[in-house]
């Protein structure tokens, strides 16, 4: 009986831990990334010191020390890249839940990169020469290029989806306010002014819509040599412009509502 009770307690502990692991948010994964990146940065100086010694003496001993430092450095690098990849994947998953933003191909690509990184982590332990380590780093670099590009895509995609969500909500409120203004029969200057202000504010909506559609189209139909870093900067500029317009419209609508109360 005692052992059954003990087993039950053990099961509860394991189940709680598993549930906690599943419930990790992108914020938690970001903290992990910060820690892994800090570990990586702490290894830069020892790595460079060993390299300087190797380049000065070129002895077997200094080469062995440099190889050892390089392996440690590379392992920390793979772990930090893995942490970044997991973070953007979780960020994308959260955005998908909240914004109905669906880009399954990004998930597939991130999963592929995570599989590669898992193998790379094992391979890093078995590196046996400096030339092999450099080849390994070249390969890692090309994979990190892909991961970085996905990171920019996730960033821009979530920004556009968030702005689109605000736009569609704003369109709903525009219809509501329009219907309300149509219902008001009172003919006074305040109502006239409210109607005029409303007309000028809602004229801005199609412009925002066009700008967001263009950004979305650029992001979803990239050319073979699209640089997502520069594209994400352009998209951010259009998001910033949309944010300014949204603020103007929301404040204007609030002003109209208050004047009718």
């Amino acid at each position: 009986m005692f052992f059954i009770f003990l087993f039950f307690l053990l099961f509860l502990t394991v189940a709680t831990k598993t549930a906690k692991a599943i419930d990790k948010s992108s914020d938690d994964y970001y903290q992990e990334l910060v820690q892994k990146y800090r570990n990586y940065q702490q290894l830069i100086d020892p790595f460079e010191n060993q390299r300087s010694r190797y380049l000065t003496y070129k002895s077997v001993e200094t080469q062995a020390d440099f190889l050892s430092a390089a392996k440690t450095f590379v392992t920390a690098e793979v772990e930090a890249i893995t942490a970044y990849t997991v973070f953007i994947k979780t960020y994308l998953a959260e955005a998908t839940q909240v914004l109905n933003y669906q880009d399954t191909y990004l998930y597939v690509m991130l999963d592929d990169e995570l599989s590669y990184l898992s193998l790379a982590r094992k391979k890093a332990d078995g590196l046996s020469s400096l030339s092999e380590t450099q080849t390994f780093l070249d390969d890692l670099s090309s994979h990190y290029q892909k991961i970085s590009q996905i990171g920019y895509q996730v960033k821009s995609g979530v920004e556009i989806a968030s702005a689109n969500k605000i736009l569609s909500n704003l369109q709903i409120e525009t219809t509501k306010i329009g219907d309300l203004l149509d219902k008001i029969n009172a003919s006074n200057d305040k109502v006239y002014a409210a109607k005029e202000k409303f007309s000028s504010l809602k004229e801005q909506l199609p412009t925002i819509q066009n700008s967001l559609n263009k950004s979305e189209s650029l992001l979803k139909n990239p050319s073979a040599n699209t640089n997502f870093k520069s594209l994400s900067q352009r998209i951010r500029t259009s998001i910033d412009q949309a944010v300014v317009s949204f603020e103007t419209i929301i404040l204007g609508y609030q002003n109209i509502i208050e004047s009718l109360e």
Partner: protein, 99 residues
Amino acid sequence: MSKFKKDYLMFFLLLFFILGIGMEFLFSRQKVKSGSLHLSLPNSVPSPTIFLQEPTPTPFPELLNIGNDLKSMQEDLSKIKNEDIRLFPPSFNFSLGIK
């Protein structure tokens, strides 16, 4: 279960039952006592008149909903107002620096 154990069990059940009835009786008496302190108002005293203030009539009740929606939209807007720099890929070194 032996007959001896059964007898014990029955004895305790009976004891708890009697104790339960006793407690219930005691508590119900206390309730009656506290209730007897209640002073009823004489019939001659008129019941106080409460003037209920009527809410100010709003010509358009939907205004409140629209106002709330706009407030929640401002909260959504604040989330994208600042760029999430955490998504920028960190920089790494991919060269041993020996060539």
